[in-house]
Symmetry: C2
Subunit: 386 residues, 2 copies
Amino acid sequence: MRPVAVVGAGMTPFGEHFDLGIKELLPLALAEAVGSVDKGIDRAQIDAAWFGELTTTDGFPSGVLADSCGLLDIPITRVENACATGNDAVRNAFFAVASGHVDVALVMGADKVRETSARATFWDWMAMTRDMAWDYPLGLVAPANFALHAARYLHESPATREHMAMVAVKNHHNAVTNPKAHLRFEITVEQVLSAPMVVAPFGLYDCTPQSDGAAALLIAGGDVADRFTDSPIWVRGVGLGLDRVMHQHKRDMTTFPATVRAAKQAFDMAGLTPADVDVAEVHDCFSAVELISYEDLGFCDRFQAADLIASGATALGGRLPVNPSGGLKAKGHPPGATGVAQCVELVEQLRGTAANQIEGARVALAHNIGGPTAVSAVTLLSTDRG
Amino acid sequence: MRPVAVVGAGMTPFGEHFDLGIKELLPLALAEAVGSVDKGIDRAQIDAAWFGELTTTDGFPSGVLADSCGLLDIPITRVENACATGNDAVRNAFFAVASGHVDVALVMGADKVRETSARATFWDWMAMTRDMAWDYPLGLVAPANFALHAARYLHESPATREHMAMVAVKNHHNAVTNPKAHLRFEITVEQVLSAPMVVAPFGLYDCTPQSDGAAALLIAGGDVADRFTDSPIWVRGVGLGLDRVMHQHKRDMTTFPATVRAAKQAFDMAGLTPADVDVAEVHDCFSAVELISYEDLGFCDRFQAADLIASGATALGGRLPVNPSGGLKAKGHPPGATGVAQCVELVEQLRGTAANQIEGARVALAHNIGGPTAVSAVTLLSTDRG
């Protein structure tokens, strides 16, 4: 099967861009990705695009990308898979390039969350990522539905709210030195524990902010990648997993089967194991979700996540740094952009140019979980072609 | 590159299914597709799914498909590209199978348009398929924006409202003998011309109905297709084209560049020409759109569509029957399902089992145009592997 490589990557800062619309954010991210291509790339060399987007109020998403980036003469597919949208957009572009029918593909993700219009708001979008018959009308917006999982996880595992707080503290720390991050300030475990409660067991600092932003990847077939760079980053594995939407149908609240399925697909495709991963961007929309995901991704055994975070293994300088960018928690979370931006961070890590560089990183993992914990996407990147 | 074949196809009747939700329509369509597989197929043999969907009020689309069809253990990607969603879902599944990473893929499309909820309605969806800064606030909902094109087309070409009416009369005639069609009654040119005006030059019978329905295709790699059938239908070409979203940016209102781009990609991939096509399902959301599309798809020269429809060439028994199913106009138009259902009709035509069978058909074309005429998707199917 045809190998696929990343040849360019870029993103806007994540944050509250009240002065920028999605039509400005998209070309900014694309320009940075184009500028990152070692040997240069011409717009005419891009054959097709995939666009991960959830919440725009600007209208027809594929057309917004085509119009704002001057990409009218290539096909553009909008992919939507709740908060797993970004890595699923990468996955669909990967298949097209791997098929040989597309040589060079653009993957973009973008969302404007800090903006509401009269017609379409964040809450309209939120509703469409849940079950509308039971869960949403009963109040299971994202913080509430993830809180059900976290509460049970705290009950069954050795993890405590302090361990959750350690995740938030770590990711805020990493964001301070990442110029693209939304929340660039340190917090302490004490601040997390004493913050106003959003929904138990999540206080304010256990929750991701709502951010605006865009991210872009340029990927190419392995046989044409050397037109663009002498140091391609290889897309070694992609995976997408589903699970039941309604919470009354979930059999075990302490694990996300969608993540387990997505990770298995990606690792199987790559011929790699969790032990091979040097750096990861993990979907920490709420602090406890990073803990549960350590286990679901195979970074530690079941109910060992508390030990893993407490050991410092996932901090900068640890054996497996997680969310060196700051993660969703502190880098920010424009849903459609998040997964693509995880890959941008990891491409920079593998190129050796990241803001918080993990020395010698060769294998990197990006992970999203979205919807009512009903969908997950995983991407494995490597300096080695495999 | 790996050939890709359709091995199963099925759909629900299109119509006003007030008694069925999308969670009922999806398994009905899937069951018919599974039942159409000559040698049978087991659910465990389906590796991945793509879901074209625009308007559901039931919540998270990928999860709705997974839950309602019991497909929790495979990846499901939702594709959205306005009314070109269906054939773009086919295109994305095609790439995945062609890549060799997926052996058997399910493509489903579905929408419930004849249903509104308090939160999400047809009109909310309609807004998100336009430009929200100018076109939609100025009133350019679908009938109005297509009417701008039709009015100019009538002005510049020899076509008249009578030629538009001939499209509607033909497609209603075809629907009468299609048990899956929404509007199964004959109409006359006189009735079309004297019907209440919706937006000039479209009277009521120039417009597609709003329908509910679902459709499903099972596709497989050419090297594994014989597990399922001895008479596969080959996906020979896929194409997707974009164009400017805002009408003030369109340079020529009498042609749809999105269609021209999508058709060129599909024909180039297939190594076929418009003259090779034996039967087509063309996006006749409004009668004049079928005429303009004859030209954009290369079925006749520019401004010759009036002659083509008047000659009877695109009627049953003509040299190139168009919309033997009844088309969007009379078969119906649940947007996410429409393109997939076009392919279901064409697979049946190529298998020799269609309700209005075109004898000896070997090459078939499906065509969608959507958004504010800003996106088009084309799929080419054939009995010949090529």
